[in-house]
C-alpha cells in the first residue's frame, strides 16, 4: 500500500499551513496588530466651552448655553424607518425633514447625528426613560448666545463653521474640520483665547461599537473669558438712539483709549439667521466706526488749524476776510454761510466753521504739510483697535497725485483738502482719535476694547505725543469749546447743562445726496474723561442731528456717572 506516499502528501499540506502562518503572523504581523488596535479604539471629541465675554462692569455679553438635542447613533439604530416614524409622531416633526437632517449630518457610525434640535427638558426626560427607542440619545449641545443681540453685533461678531481655505491656514494651530471660528469682531480677533482646547475620550469598543472601557481622556479646557472696556448700558442707549439709521457712534476715554461704546447702525442679530441680510443695500455687516470711509468735512479743520499754527503759516491773530466765497481762477469756493463771516481769526473761524478762513490757511500751508500732520493725527493708518478688518483711510499729497494721476496738484484741491473734502477719506474712529489728541494736550492714544483676558489685565494702548505746542493746543481747544458753548457756535445743540463740552461739527458734501453729518467732541473741556464721535450717513447738517445725538449721549453718560 501507498501509506508512505499519503504521509508525504499530508505532511506537505501541513508545511503549507506553517508557511502561511509564517507569512500572516510574522511578516504581516505588525500591520495586522495595528488593524486590531484600530478595531477597538475610538476617539470621541469633547468640545471646549468657549470663553465668555462681559462688559466693563461684568455684565455678560456672550455666553454659551446648552440646548437639548435629540440625536441618533447610526450603528445602534436597527430599523431607521420605524424609529424615525415613531419619533416624528412623538415630537410632531415632519419625518421627511428628519431624514434629510439625518442624511446630511451622517459622519461616522458611532457619532451621534442630531435630528431634532432644542427639545424641552420634560420631553428629553421622557425620551430618555423610554426603552423602545434604541439608538437615540439626548445630547447637550453648546450654543453661543449673544445676550444683547444687535447692540453688540459688530463688536463681538459671531461664529461660523471654518472654511476649507481658512482651515488650511489654521490647521497648525489645532483647528479641525467643522470647528467653529469667530467671524468678525472680538470673536474673530480673540478666537485663539476664546476657543480653549478641545478634549476627548479614547474608548475601547467591542464589535458593535459599544464602549468596553475608557482608555484615556483629556478634559476640555474652557477658553479664556474676556472683559471689555465697553459699558453695555451706554451701548444700548446709543443703539436705541440711532434707530437703525445708517450711522456710527464711538465713545472713548481719551486719556487711556478705553472704548466705552462703539455702535454701528444698521445692525444685525448675531443669534439669528443672517443670510437674508447678506445682500442688503444698507450694508448692515459694515462696522461703520472702523470700516466706513467718509470725507471728514469740517471736523478736519481741527487738523488744519493745528498744522497751520504749528508750521507758523498763520498766527492766532492772523485774520482773513470772509465775503461768503473764495475765487481761484475761474472757480468759486463757497463758505457755508451765504453772506460770509466777515473778518475771522482762528478761534472764531473754528467756532463758526468758516470755510473761507481755512481756504486761506490751507493755501498758505500747502497739501504736503497738511498730509504730514494728518498722518501725525493717525489718519491713513489703522488704529490698532482689536477689531478685525479695520480700514486705513486715505491721505493724499502732491507726490501721490503726480504718481497716481500723472497730474500736478491744483490749488483748488488744496482748498477742498482744507475743509475735509476731496480725496481724503477717514473712518469715524480716526476723527475721534484726532479730537481726543487735542483734548488731552497732544496725546494720541491707541484705542482698545479688551480690558482683561482671563485674569490678566491688558496694558493700556501706546500713547504718541504729537509735536504740538501748548499755545496751538490752547487755541484749538478754545475754538472747540466755543463751538458748543456760544450762541453762534455750530455745535451749540450739543450743549448739556452742567457739563463742559467742547467739539467740532462737520457737514461732508456728497455728490447728489444729502451730506454726511459729523460731530466730534469731548467733556469736560479740562482733563476730559470722555470723547465721542457721531457720524450720520447722509444725515444732513452736522450742527443739527449729529449734535443733538451727541448731547443725548453726554446727558446719558452723566446719568450713568461716566462723566
Amino acid at each position: 500500500m501507498r501509506i508512505r506516499h499519503l504521509e508525504k502528501i499530508l505532511s506537505s499540506l501541513f508545511f503549507l499551513l506553517l508557511l502561511g502562518l509564517l507569512i500572516l503572523q510574522v511578516f504581516q504581523g505588525k500591520s495586522y496588530r495595528l488593524q486590531s488596535q484600530g478595531n477597538i479604539i475610538r476617539l470621541i471629541p469633547m468640545p471646549a466651552p468657549r470663553g465668555e465675554i462681559s462688559d466693563r462692569n461684568g455684565v455678560l455679553l456672550a455666553d454659551t448655553h446648552l440646548t437639548l438635542d435629540l440625536a441618533l447613533i447610526p450603528q445602534e439604530t436597527k430599523n431607521l424607518n420605524a424609529l424615525v416614524e415613531k419619533l416624528s409622531r412623538i415630537l410632531g416633526v415632519d419625518r421627511e425633514r428628519m431624514f434629510q437632517v439625518y442624511a446630511k449630518g451622517l459622519s461616522a457610525p458611532f457619532t451621534p447625528v442630531p435630528v431634532v434640535k432644542d427639545i424641552s427638558k420634560e420631553m428629553a426626560i421622557s425620551l430618555e426613560e423610554r426603552r423602545d427607542l434604541p439608538g437615540t440619545v439626548v445630547m447637550n449641545t453648546p450654543h453661543r448666545r449673544y445676550l444683547y443681540g444687535i447692540e453688540t453685533a459688530h463688536l463681538l461678531g459671531r461664529l461660523g463653521e471654518i472654511d476649507p481655505w481658512e482651515l488650511e491656514r489654521l490647521r497648525p494651530y489645532g483647528y479641525k474640520m467643522k470647528d467653529l471660528l469667530g467671524q468678525g469682531g472680538i470673536e474673530e480677533s480673540f478666537d485663539n483665547y476664546l476657543r480653549g482646547e478641545d478634549g476627548g475620550v479614547q474608548l475601547k469598543v467591542n464589535n458593535k461599537g459599544f464602549k468596553v472601557e475608557t482608555l484615556g481622556s483629556r478634559r476640555p479646557v474652557k477658553g479664556k473669558d474676556l472683559a471689555l472696556t465697553l459699558d453695555i448700558r451706554l451701548q444700548g442707549f446709543i443703539t436705541s438712539l440711532l434707530q437703525g439709521r445708517p450711522s456710527a457712534v464711538c465713545v472713548m476715554n481719551p486719556q487711556t483709549g478705553e472704548i466705552l461704546a462703539l455702535a454701528s447702525s444698521p445692525s444685525f442679530d448675531p443669534n439669528g439667521d443672517i443670510s437674508p441680510l447678506l445682500h442688503s443695500q444698507e450694508r448692515p455687516f459694515l462696522n461703520r466706526v472702523t470700516q466706513g470711509l467718509y470725507p471728514p468735512g469740517s471736523t478736519f479743520k481741527v487738523a488744519i488749524a493745528a498744522t497751520a499754527l504749528e508750521t507758523r503759516k498763520i498766527g492766532e491773530q492772523t485774520s482773513f476776510f470772509c465775503p461768503g466765497s473764495l475765487t481761484l481762477g475761474k472757480d468759486q469756493f463757497d463758505c457755508w454761510r451765504e453772506g460770509g463771516h466777515g473778518e475771522q481769526r482762528l478761534i472764531g473761524a473754528l467756532q463758526h466753521s468758516c470755510n473761507v478762513f481755512f481756504y486761506h490757511a490751507g493755501l498758505l500751508t500747502g497739501p504736503d504739510l497738511i498730509a504730514e500732520y494728518a498722518r501725525f493725527f493717525g489718519f491713513g493708518e489703522k488704529s490698532s483697535l482689536e477689531l478685525p478688518h479695520e480700514a486705513k483711510g486715505f491721505v493724499p499729497n502732491s507726490l501721490w497725485k503726480r504718481l497716481a494721476k500723472r497730474e500736478r496738484w491744483y490749488d483748488g484741491e488744496t482748498v477742498n483738502f482744507a475743509i475735509g473734502q476731496g480725496y481724503l477719506t477717514v473712518t469715524p474712529l480716526q476723527v475721534l482719535r484726532m479730537a481726543s489728541a487735542i483734548a488731552t494736550d497732544g496725546k494720541l492714544v491707541d484705542p482698545y476694547l479688551v480690558k482683561r483676558i482671563g485674569v490678566l489685565e491688558t496694558k493700556a494702548g501706546k500713547t504718541r505725543h504729537l509735536p504740538l505746542s501748548k499755545k496751538t493746543l490752547a487755541a484749538i481747544q478754545e475754538g472747540m469749546f466755543l463751538v458748543v458753548n456760544s450762541d453762534e457756535g455750530t455745535g451749540r445743540y450739543a450743549a448739556v447743562p452742567g457739563l463742559e463740552i467742547a467739539g467740532k461739527t462737520g457737514t461732508a458734501q456728497v455728490h447728489g445726496k444729502a451730506p454726511h453729518a459729523w460731530f466730534v467732541g469731548y467733556s469736560p473741556s479740562r482733563d476730559p474723561r470722555a470723547s465721542l464721535v457721531v457720524f450720520m450717513e447722509h444725515g444732513g447738517k452736522g450742527g443739527l442731528v449729529a449734535s443733538q445725538i451727541a448731547a443725548s449721549i453726554f446727558q446719558k453718560m452723566k446719568e450713568l456717572e461716566l462723566l
Binding site: 500500500m1 501507498r2 501509506i3 508512505r4 506516499h5 499519503l6 504521509e7 502528501i9 499530508l10 505532511s11 499540506l13 501541513f14 499551513l17 506553517l18 502561511g20 502562518l21 509564517l22 500572516l24 503572523q25 510574522v26 504581516q28 504581523g29 505588525k30 500591520s31 495586522y32 496588530r33 488593524q35 486590531s36 488596535q37 478595531n39 477597538i40 475601547k204 469598543v205 467591542n206 464589535n207 458593535k208 468596553v212
Partner: protein, 358 residues
C-alpha cells in the same frame, strides 16, 4: 499492561488545549453551562471518552462485520435529520434530538463511511480493478454527501470525497484513475455552482475577494486574518486577545477557535499546534503501515486522512486561503458530536495499533 501509544497522550494534550482555548473564547467565564463553552465541552468529554473507551475495547475485527450495518444506520439517521431534525439559528437542519441532547449524524457518517469503504475496498485488488469498483466506492460517499448537502452542510458534504480519495490512494488505485477523477471533478464543478444556495455562492465570491462585503459575508475572514496576524510572534497573551474578547471574531468557539489561539499565543502557539497535529498524522499513518490486514490499514489511513483533511481545511479557512465552509478543528472546536467522532476515530486507530503490538 498495555503500552500506551504516544498518539493517545498527544490527543489528550490537544483536548486540554481545546478546553483552555474554549475557556478564553467563552462569552461568560462563570461556572454556568449557558455561556461557558469550556464547561460544556467538559461534559461532552465524559460522553466522548466513554465512547472512546468502548470503541477501543472492542476487537476491531467486529467493525469489519458491522461496517455496512453501521453505515446503513447512519444513512438512515441522515434521512431522519431531513425529516424531523432541529434547525439551527442560521436555518440549516443538522441536528437530531434525543431527549435533552442533540447530535449531528453527519459528523459520524465520516467514520462509518471510512468503515464501509474500507470493507468494500479491502476485498479487491485495486491495481487491477475496473470502473465498477470505483463507481461503487463513489456511490458509497455520494449518497450521504447528497443527504448532507440537502441539510445544507456544504463542508461536511464535500469532505467525504477527499477522505475516500485518500483511502483509494492508499489502496493502490491506479494512478491514471486519479487523473480521470481530477478530470471529472473539473467538469462537474461548474455544474455544482447551480446547486449552491445564494449564501454559499457568496462565500465563494468572498473567498476570492473578502473586501466585496467587509461587514457582511467577508467579515469573518477579515476579522479572522486580523486576529491571527495581530497575534504576531508571541501573541497578545492568554485571555487578552482583543479581537476575540471584544467579539470582533464571529463563531470563535467553533470554526474560528484557531484564530483565538493564534491571536493569544502568536506564531509560537500556532506552529506548536501544527507540529502536534503533524505528529498525530504521522503516528496514525505509521500505525496504518504496520497493520497486517488491508481492512485495518484502510480504516486507519481513512481516519487519519479524515482528521488531516479537517485540520487543513479549517486552518486554511481561518487564514483566508480556503472559503469559509464550516469544518471544525479536531479536538479544539466546540461541539459534542464532533468531539465524540474525533475521539472514536482515534480510538479506532489506537485499537488497530494495539492489536498490532499485542
Amino acid at each position: 499492561m498495555r503500552k500506551r501509544d504516544p498518539l493517545f497522550w498527544t490527543v489528550l494534550l490537544l483536548c486540554f488545549l481545546g478546553l483552555l482555548s474554549l475557556y478564553s473564547a467563552s462569552p461568560d467565564r462563570s461556572f454556568s453551562l449557558r455561556g461557558n463553552f469550556a464547561l460544556r465541552q467538559c461534559l461532552w468529554m465524559i460522553v466522548a471518552f466513554s465512547l472512546f473507551w468502548v470503541t477501543f475495547s472492542v476487537d476491531y475485527k467486529k467493525f469489519y462485520d458491522l461496517a455496512y450495518l453501521l453505515y446503513g444506520m447512519n444513512v438512515l439517521l441522515l434521512v431522519l435529520v431531513l425529516l424531523l431534525g432541529r434547525a439551527t439559528r442560521l436555518g440549516a437542519q443538522r441536528w437530531l434530538g434525543v431527549g435533552p441532547f442533540a447530535f449531528q449524524p453527519s459528523e459520524f457518517i465520516k467514520i462509518t463511511l471510512v468503515l464501509a469503504a474500507a470493507r468494500f475496498l479491502s476485498g479487491k485488488d485495486l491495481h487491477a480493478c475496473g470502473w465498477r469498483t470505483l463507481l461503487g466506492a463513489f456511490l458509497l460517499a455520494a449518497f450521504p454527501a447528497l443527504l448532507i448537502l440537502k441539510e445544507p452542510h456544504l463542508g461536511t458534504s464535500l469532505i467525504l470525497f477527499p477522505i475516500l480519495l485518500g483511502m483509494l490512494y492508499a489502496a493502490n488505485l491506479r494512478r491514471d484513475f486519479f487523473l480521470w477523477i481530477l478530470f471529472m471533478a473539473l467538469i462537474v464543478s461548474p455544474l455544482g455552482w447551480f446547486i449552491l444556495k445564494e449564501y454559499q455562492k457568496n462565500r465563494l465570491l468572498i473567498f476570492i475577494n473578502p473586501n466585496l462585503d467587509p461587514l457582511g459575508a467577508g467579515y469573518s475572514v477579515i476579522q479572522s486574518r486580523i486576529s491571527l496576524g495581530s497575534g504576531w510572534l508571541f501573541g497578545k497573551g492568554y485571555l487578552s486577545g482583543t479581537q476575540s474578547q471584544l467579539n470582533f471574531l464571529p463563531e470563535r468557539h467553533t470554526d474560528f477557535i484557531f484564530s483565538v489561539i493564534g491571536e493569544e499565543w502568536g506564531f509560537l502557539g500556532t506552529s506548536f499546534l501544527i507540529f502536534l497535529y503533524l505528529f498525530l498524522v504521522k503516528r496514525g499513518l505509521a500505525i496504518a503501515a504496520r497493520a497486517r490486514e488491508a481492512f485495518a490499514q484502510l480504516v486507519v489511513a481513512g481516519l487519519t486522512t479524515l482528521l488531516a483533511g479537517h485540520i487543513f481545511v479549517n486552518i486554511a479557512m481561518t487564514m483566508g486561503f480556503l472559503p469559509v465552509v464550516g469544518l471544525p478543528l479536531p479536538f479544539l472546536s466546540y461541539g459534542g458530536s464532533w468531539l465524540t467522532s474525533c475521539l472514536i476515530s482515534v480510538a479506532l486507530i489506537l485499537n488497530v495499533g494495539t492489536e498490532h503490538s499485542r
